[in-house]
């Protein structure tokens, strides 16, 4: 290898940082032995580095460390509250209300997404069943037989009767003749 003294100056920096390969180190040593300029450069770089053996510093106080732990404790308490809501599917509701619902963020957390999916499905199913059962109960034929039949049986029986013409279809109820 053939370097100028300026290039060797950089190589000296890397050598003092223990970043040279064995071959590079051998080449540097061979050059320094015969080059007074690089010998001076090496001495100056070593001198500069010695100054940093006692670098500028500040003291870490126990008071500061305690304040950091206290701040983390506050975060911890707030985090527990969020977690409580998440496990009950409350976070989705909260996010929608606050207008910060993020579908991709939700999908990125499968556990939370599953919890919310179960909650939403259960809610939708409840509403669906509630509306349907309320509709069935208002029909006089069904309401009359309600005491002796399960909702499912009643619904099936209603459909069978309706298909056979025993019960008028919806339009006929309003206009039976």
């Amino acid at each position: 290898m053939d370097h100028s003294c300026e290039q060797y100056s950089q190589i000296i920096t890397r050598w003092l940082d223990a970043e040279l390969t064995t071959d590079e180190t051998g080449d540097l040593h061979a050059h320094i032995q015969k080059c007074p300029t690089c010998q001076r450069e090496l001495a100056q770089q070593k001198k500069i580095r010695q100054l940093w053996e006692d670098p500028p510093s500040v003291t870490s106080y126990q008071q500061d460390r305690d304040a950091i732990v206290a701040a983390a404790n506050k975060l911890h308490t707030a985090g527990e509250s969020d977690q409580w809501q998440e496990t009950r599917g409350g976070l989705l509701h909260k996010q929608v209300l606050q207008g910060r619902f993020n579908l991709f963020g939700l999908l990125a957390k499968p556990k939370r997404a599953l919890t919310n999916l179960v909650t939403v499905t259960a809610l939708a199913a409840s509403i669906f069943l509630g509306v349907n059962l309320a509709g069935q109960l208002t029909h006089p034929e069904i309401a009359a037989g309600w005491d002796n039949a399960s909702p499912v049986f009643t619904l099936t029986e209603y459909q069978v009767l309706q298909a056979g013409g025993s019960i008028p279809i919806a339009e006929d109820v309003d206009h039976p003749f």
Partner: protein, 183 residues
């Protein structure tokens, strides 16, 4: 970190005890301002706390901490540039240290030690402030924290060759400055 992620506050307390000084001093050497360094150290440790649950070990933990401090420092510089304030350069913190020493009696170095090295340390901090943030970061991590170029490259997210070049340029600039100051 796993314990902290599970909400074990004593584990976080231990982490703070162990690493606060390291983080604080790195932040101080980057910013040259003691109060700012304390703020950065606090922000850094709280970020570590928040990120603990999702932490995946990649390299040395010290490097992870240094990367957070570096990012916080860069954010501060960007904010200051946007506000067109005076650059982040050292306020002489010696008077702060003395007033703090009165109020916080623990961990305070003796006056004799302070006097012996104060002048040199002031010059060194002033010399550091003449470097650009990138050169300062490379120099401090290499020369004071004794990290390899590879680790520094990971922290600074740039090639190792860039770090080698920054380190050398920093040495050259520091030498010029300190020579002009008669050191």
């Amino acid at each position: 970190m796993r314990l902290i992620g599970e909400g074990e506050m004593p584990a976080f307390g231990q982490l703070v005890q162990r690493h606060h000084s390291l983080i604080l001093n790195f932040a101080y050497r980057l910013s040259g301002d003691e109060e700012m360094a304390r703020d950065i150290a606090q922000d850094c440790l709280l970020r570590v706390y928040r990120a603990a649950a999702g932490y995946k070990p990649q390299g040395r933990f010290r490097c992870y901490l240094f990367a957070i401090v570096r990012n916080l420092f860069r954010e501060l510089i960007r904010k200051q540039k946007r506000r067109r304030e005076t650059p982040l350069y050292p306020t002489n913190s010696a008077s702060n240290e003395v007033s703090r020493a009165d109020s916080r009696s623990n961990d305070v170095p003796t006056p004799a030690m302070e006097l012996a090295s104060k002048r040199l340390r002031d010059h060194l901090q002033k010399a550091l402030s003449t470097l650009s943030p990138e050169h300062r970061t490379a120099f401090v991590l290499s020369e004071i924290e004794h990290l390899s170029y590879r680790d520094i490259a990971m922290i600074c997210q740039c090639p190792e060759g860039t770090i080698a070049s920054r380190k050398h340029q920093a040495i050259v600039q520091l030498r010029q400055f300190l020579t002009s100051e008669g050191i």
